[in-house]
Subunit: 302 residues, 2 copies
């Protein structure tokens, strides 16, 4: 099966209470593609970078089987740059710099052979661009998943609602679920969000895990308490990549299997936060992933 | 088996985004005793109230089998009063008023027949008073559990550390665990807190559930996402009461059983928050509690 990832490929400067790294590689579609590459053969990337983006990074993605033919390299542009600082509680962060650079006129064109993609992950971008991707698909996908954030709810709510009607799975955090639905109770919020389009809602709660709402049922995936958390950047995207990669690999959208997908996403996110950039995702093996899944099972078994 | 609960019995005025209730009954030992009364026969209460405290409340506790002979009624005093307001995110609250009243010279004296208590729950009070209770015990209990808060870490850290050496189980929230240990990682925090005394650490995370650390193992109890949350006041104490009540009932301190105890505490807390004061704890049955435990099992099964 195949998975199409649309989103940013970026440089990040991150500062946590434990350290600072300058201009390391990041971006939603970058993390998502790396995570998904452990599950699904055909990971298809759509993004844009500038001439400053290292060819070695593109080579490394290709070596993992990621199809980068949808990665536009803008010769006269600079790669999207984000700088952020994590507060003492690493669940909160502040943005210091956002240089859109090439992202400013990102107009994603799907390569011909991407247009029949069956699993789609739309990373956090303007709702308009997300919609534009959906409209280029020539066959009906099994799952279109969308990530978004409060910023788009503030400034582009109507466009967001339009694209949500075309989406099967939405990933947001708890505060965003409350904002989007106007309900405090996440159970009630899920009811309202289901009516907006996505029949599957995944609420990401960072170090507190994730909640899945589907078919009137609820599943809670814990986050694994870790001895070392280096950098939470990309954890949400890695989660999405693991989840969608697992769904695409198994090609089974039953509630039971979506639960397993959410656990696989959580496991990949737990590897991600243990290092900077994709450091924690580079040298994984099926065996290592399986052991981490076992740790998740133990964590909630009683 | 028996359970000794030491802590406040109070009047609360609470305001949430959904409503306000004035001068309703509350207090840590009140919630703990009510929750525990569904599991253990001999719940022994130690607290203090003023002449303004309604006899009907004391009668209701006795009707549930709670031994109130350790509840001092100070004729010339007023009952402890707390007023608080919950913010939009009900996981955070601000205190508006704290009138210690009779609590100001609370000097808990254990009735003779309490002194052989096997399970002890010391609610959040000054570390000095908590120690004073421990020193009145004539036999070595199976489990002494202690609840505390950041306030005592700020102003009475040395006394707190002294009492922690005598304690088997500590309940605090995640920020407090970080403050007490000086470690961000809760796994590392648990290592340090174990060295301070308590071999069992329970980190309460409100709507995000609870983490149990014991014998080098970790267990995560989810919180049940609820359609209606009326008032979180007392949820942590109800959790402690359910947990300690279950431990006292089963008289088994293995890790496997402490996990079950934490789930029973979580279940009781989920009933608590659905109503004000002890409204959600009044008309429970073993069948109703069992069904709620099943819901917790479903929530994390994959």
């Amino acid at each position: 099966m195949n998975l199409l990832n649309v989103g940013t490929v970026a440089f990040d400067t991150v500062e946590t209470p434990f350290g600072r790294r300058e201009k390391i590689t990041g971006g939603a579609a970058y993390f998502t593609s790396w995570a998904a590459s452990y599950f699904v053969d055909q990971v298809r990337l759509v993004s844009i970078v500038g001439a400053d983006y290292p060819q070695s990074e593109i080579d490394a993605m290709q070596a993992r089987g990621i199809d980068t033919s949808g990665l536009e390299i803008k010769k006269d542009g600079k790669t999207f740059f984000w700088e952020g600082k994590y507060l003492d509680n690493m669940n909160a962060r502040e943005t210091i710099t956002t240089d859109l650079n090439v992202l400013d006129d990102f107009n994603p064109i799907l390569p011909e052979h991407y247009k029949d993609s069956q699993y789609i992950m739309l990373g956090n971008l303007t709702p308009q661009i997300q919609l534009q991707v959906i409209e280029q698909l020539t066959t009906l996908p099994k799952i279109i998943a969308l990530d978004t954030m409060n910023f788009w709810m503030d400034i582009a709510l109507e466009q967001l609602k339009t694209v949500l009607q075309r989406v099967n799975l939405l990933t947001i955090n708890d505060e965003e679920a409350r904002q989007l639905s106007g309900e405090y109770s996440l159970v009630k919020a899920a009811d309202i969000i289901h009516q907006m389009g996505p029949e599957i809602l995944v609420i990401k709660k960072g170090e507190h895990g994730a909640l899945l709402f589907n078919e009137g049922q609820i599943f809670m995936a814990p986050a694994l308490p870790l001895r070392r958390v280096a950098d939470p950047t990309g954890a949400g995207d890695t989660f999405a990549g693991g989840m969608m990669g697992y769904l695409a690999m198994t090609d089974d959208t039953s509630f039971a299997n979506i639960k397993r997908a959410v656990i696989h996403g959580s496991a990949m996110a737990s590897f991600c936060v243990e290092d900077y950039s994709i450091g924690g995702l580079k040298n994984l093996s099926p065996e290592k992933i399986k052991r981490r899944i076992e740790a998740f099972k133990m964590l909630t078994a009683f």
